[in-house]
Amino acid sequence: MQRAEFESQLNELKDAAERSLTGVSGLEDLQSWEREYIGSKGSLTLMFRALGGLDSADRPEAGRLLNQVKQSLTATFENRETELKAGATAARLVSEAVDVTLPGRQPQTGNAHPVSLMIDELSEIFALMGFQTVFGPEVETGRYNFDLLNIPSDHPARDVWDTIIMDTLSEEIVLRTHTSPMQARVMEESKPPVRVIVPGRVYRYEAQDASHEWMFHQLEGLAVDSNIRMSDLKGVLQELARQLFGPTRRIRFRCDFFPFVEPGVDFAVDCAICNGKGCRVCKQSGWLEMGGAGMVHPRVLAGVGIDPEVYTGFAFGLGIERLLMMRYGISDIRAFAGNDLRFLSEFAALTV
């Protein structure tokens, strides 16, 4: 082949390719175009073979021209490809439009019981104050549930804990009426300093109504050391109240009687709803009762072999359900063991 013939073929091919490309409207057509012209078996690629038929003197120039055409066609192709791809994507996006107000696909998930969430939260708060979370038996001996807590049999105080009693041969075994038996168990196990909290189920022989359940959850707290004072009890409970109900809450002690503490108090937090001014929730008193507390009775300390002259301690007890009722305005304690999904799922959104 002559060089002139080669060049005119090349130009024709270039013109044809360029013409053809302007007619391409889709990515599929573009692929055919690519195969036809610049693919491995395309017409332009075949032209490279034709180079060999030229005079050796003409080859460099013809090769240069051929490469130039190839580059030019490739560039045009790539531009066209980019253009078409963008168009195709845009078209696909348009066609894929959905009604965004349709409901989302729901994963099937559940959540923990509010009592568990509250116990976790309390455990975390107390951990920051150096208290460990421990657990104890729910079925207890009279010795731990009463005797070691300075509640001897025949003492009228024993009536306060209306007790669910197990059928046994001779040993007095009961469903624990409070988490306090763990006070004695913990102090028997470890010497001061002691700082623990004990959450768990407790049981009372008590008729059910909106504010009474025969099974509920308590959280016991105990700190024993050589320098524990009642003001420390107040500080710890105030910290608790602030973590649970807001940074400006205050704690109030009221003299009360529990056989295993002396002095004994019940403690209340000022109502967060009315800021202590009095409202329906706090029954106009401005205060919400949280639990009982006091300094560990010297007889309880002595009973587990701790010298009450050297060591002092404080203990407190909280009702978990009661805390939840206070915090979320739940009016009926029976909801907690009611296990209605409409109630349980209310706590899916609660963050600790």
Binding site: P103, G110, H113, Y205, N227, N339, D340
Partner: protein, 814 residues
């Protein structure tokens, strides 16, 4: 205990609002539960005088009363049978809002002038019921003669009643005097105690008038014989006070005993002396076979150790609890024997409990009454009796008190106050406060010790910290600062069970479960329904026959007297309840199973998690594929939960359980340790729990076992740097071959590079022959040090092919 403020004011008058008083007492430990205002709704009601009564011209049953109250003077038409000229009465004028005497519901009505049989009635003379004082509506209420005519009734009869909760330690506050002593101490104001008779001047009786056989159960017994008694209604003021304090007036003699008990805290009892054989008292234990009819008209058989009050021959009262009918004071009584005694609190408590009989007297004795109080009570009772029965006179008085109780002394470090409370209170203030409460206190020479004399009425004070509390509650806990404990902290330890419980709980919730909290008791019927009557194990994962389950003597829910050994029955109840209003429910609970040990030992408390699921797999939606929750849903939850808990290798094997579907039940284990059971409930078991026409899948896992199976320490699991290679295998096996066996064979043969084998298709059809199934697995291979090649895979493929043939009779499908 109800304390009418006017009665309290006889002793002390702090001159503060009733709200302030109630608050102060409450904070100091004497909790006021309620304040009842009597008479604050008595607008337009006055103390009036009946000037005259004349017949109604047109009605036999009605009369016209001419009543005057200060500037008001009007005619009232009334049918009251007891109205008479000269009476002092409660006169209601138009506009008064009073309870309708004819209504049973206590409805109120505003009074308007009304024509009655032609005569205009301009007001009303009130009954007790109309004023809300009692249910009495037979006649009008007649006031004491000295009531000031024209005074608003509220000012004359109105009162505020403080209702107290008396904690067991506060026996000494169980009276007007006790509360008054408290008020006096809190407000630092003087107290006036009403005067009684001078006991020293009373004539001594016959030596045998009182004999105590058991001085340990009855440390003191005083008796006063009084003649010339005329039994009748009490004066209005006394009856009124009793009513305001919540005690029903009976007759003047009984009312005086009750009045004095409320005022002083000393229980008293009056016998009709003519009905006492020998006219005397013997305090002794009951004899075999003795009976007594108590004042509530119940004939009671007496145990031999029961302390009784007897006359010369028979029991006439249950000591400290209730008197007997035979010697009851009646209208015909003229001579009474007044008992003022002290009884052992445990003895009274036993009697009261055994006979299920609680009275105002027993409530006081059970808490412990000061034996020295007998004198105050008796003196006051005699004075009142003589005041009310002008013709009465004391003919004999005996006081048997062999060992008079002396005050005790307590010695304590003065530094104890600060050691316990965390604040420093000046010693002069401490001594002053204690003095106001009736304690004598003084320091030793170097002020290092405080010696405190404890009055006999303070049985509750026995240790130094009791004294600390007395001071703190009067000084006020508001003075305590808030501090935080300092010093050493306890060694740090996290509870492994709690950690695990949190992990499985969160995983169960993430897998769709809602955590439930259910009661820990089952009835025998529940156990039968769940386990069948074959009497195997009552538990699913613990082996406890129903006969061995722990039993409650006094269950809260009738029949539910067994401590559970499986969580499933108690979870089925809320499952059924929820399915009534929702299309699916997935519940789980983390709680304990109570596995009995010896008969007098505490049970083992096994930590468990139970699951019950039933209903639609997905909630109704435009995307839902639907389907019913079944075995594989619960299996997926269990796999998810146990993997999240950190159990590395789970093995599921077919299992048999009497409550579960014979073909859809599996045990789950790890490393040879059984962790739990899962399966679908038999339809008739579900039905017995009220769940019909839906599959119920359940599972129970022992967290105690899970904890024991957890690998110690964390495993080092580096992120693989080389890409995994995946290859699919279709394996034809007999229909009966468990997929789990095929999977295990695949993974074993692919060791050590096969990391997982995921079943993605099951095919049955002619092409592979009858009784066969083809299981398609995608196996993932990965090497820690290189990218695997085709040669590696060929090697594995050969081994897999060989092992499948040998171990499960399977063949690779090509």
């Amino acid at each position: 205990m109800n304390v009418p403020l006017k009665w309290l004011n006889d002793f002390v008058d702090p001159d503060v609002s009733v709200k302030d008083l109630a608050h102060r007492l409450t904070m100091a430990g004497l909790e006021v539960e309620k304040i009842e205002e009597i008479g604050n709704d008595w607008d337009h009601v006055y103390v009036g005088k009946v000037l005259g009564v004349s017949p109604h011209p047109d009605a036999d049953r009605l009369v016209l009363a001419d009543v005057e109250a200060g500037k008001h003077h009007l005619t009232v038409v009334t049918g009251a049978p007891n109205i008479a000229a000269g009476q002092t009465v409660a006169l209601a004028l138009a506009g008064a809002n009073l309870i309708d005497g004819h209504s049973d519901s206590g409805q109120k009505k505003v009074l308007k002038p009304t024509k009655m049989r032609g005569v205009m009635s301009e007001g009303m003379v009130c009954s007790e019921k109309e004023l809300g004082l009692s249910d009495e509506h037979e006649g009008i209420m007649v006031l004491d003669d000295n009531a000031p005519i024209g005074l608003p009734l509220q000012e004359y009869l109105g009162d505020s009643v403080l209702e107290f909760e008396i904690t067991p330690n506060l026996a000494h506050n169980f009276s007007m005097h006790g509360v008054a002593r408290e008020v006096s101490a809190l407000y630092d104001i003087p107290i006036t105690v009403p005067t009684g008779a001078d006991l020293a001047t009373l004539p001594a009786g016959n030596q045998n008038l009182v004999v105590i056989e058991n001085t340990d159960l009855c440390p003191r017994y005083a008796a006063t014989v009084c003649e010339g008694i005329e039994v009748g209604p009490s004066p209005a003021w006394l009856a009124r006070r009793l009513q305001n304090a919540g005690v029903r007036p009976i007759n003047n003699v009984v009312d005086v005993t009750n009045y004095v008990m409320l005022e002083t805290g000393q229980p008293l009892h009056a016998f009709d002396r003519d009905m006492l054989e020998g006219g005397r008292i013997v305090v002794r234990t009951a004899r075999a076979g003795e009976m007594i009819e108590t004042l509530d008209h119940i004939e009671r058989k007496l145990d031999p150790d029961r302390l009784v009050i007897a006359d010369a021959s028979k029991p006439v009262g249950l000591a400290g609890v209730m008197g007997g009918v035979s010697s009851e004071v009646t209208d015909t009584t003229t001579e009474v024997l007044l008992e003022g005694a002290n009884f052992n609190m445990k003895s009274v408590r036993h009697t009261s409990r055994a006979l299920k009989l609680r009275t105002d007297a027993s409530a006081r004795y059970e808490r412990g009454v000061d034996p020295n109080l007998v004198a105050e009570g008796m003196a006051r009772a005699i004075a009142l009796l003589l005041l009310i029965c002008p013709n009465a006179r004391v003919t004999a008085f005996a006081d048997v008190y062999p060992e008079p109780l002396q005050p005790t002394t307590l010695t304590m470090r003065t530094s104890r106050f600060e050691q316990v409370l965390g604040i420093s209170i000046p010693m002069t203030e401490i001594i002053d406060v204690l003095g106001r409460l009736g304690f004598d206190a003084e320091t030793n020479a170097d002020s290092s010790q405080l010696n405190v004399t404890v009055p006999t009425w303070r049985k509750d004070v026995s240790i130094p910290d009791d004294i600390v509390e007395e001071v703190a509650r009067v000084v006020g806990y508001d003075t305590l600062p808030s501090t935080l404990p300092w010093g050493q902290t306890a060694p740090v330890k996290r509870d492994p069970v709690y950690q695990l419980r949190r992990h499985v709980r969160d995983a169960a919730a993430a897998a769709g479960g809602f955590e439930a909290v259910t009661y820990v008791t089952d009835s025998e019927t529940d156990v039968d329904a769940f386990r069948g009557r074959e009497r195997g194990s009552a538990g699913l994962i613990v082996d406890v026959p129903v006969e061995r389950m722990l039993r409650i003597i006094n269950p809260m829910q009738s029949g539910r007297n067994l401590l559970r050994v499986s969580l499933i029955p108690s979870l089925l109840e809320p499952l059924g309840a929820n399915l009534k209003h929702t299309s699916a429910a997935r519940l789980f609970e983390c709680a304990r199973l109570y596995v009995p040990n010896g008969p007098d030992e505490l049970p083992a408390e096994v930590e468990a998690i139970g699951f019950v699921i039933a209903g639609e797999r997905e909630s109704l939606s435009v995307y839902g594929r639907g389907g019913e929750l079944d075995f594989f849903d619960i299996k997926g939850m269990i796999e998810h939960v146990l993997q999240r808990a950190g159990i590395p290798d789970l093995t599921f094997e077919p299992a048999i359980d009497p409550a579960l579907h014979p073909g859809r039940t599996a045990s789950v284990s790890s490393g040879g340790t059984k962790l739990g059971i899962l399966g679908e409930l038999l339809p008739d078991v579900a039905s017995a729990f009220g769940i019909d026409d839906v599959r119920v899948a359940v599972a129970e896992i022992s967290l105690t076992a899970v904890l024991a199976s957890l690998p110690s320490g964390r495993r080092d699991v580096p992120v693989q740097r080389y890409l995994p290679v995946r290859q699919d295998f279709a394996i034809i096996v007999d229909e009966a071959t468990p997929a789990g066996d095929v999977e295990r064979t695949l993974l074993d043969a692919g060791r050590p590079l096969a990391s997982s084998a995921d079943l993605f298709d099951i095919f049955r059809g002619e092409q592979i022959g009858e009784g066969k199934k083809s299981l398609a697995y995608r196996v993932t291979f990965i090497a820690p040090d290189r990218t695997l090649t085709d040669d590696d895979l060929v090697k594995f493929r050969k081994r897999i092919e060989k092992n499948l043939k040998q171990q499960v009779g399977g063949a690779l499908r090509v």
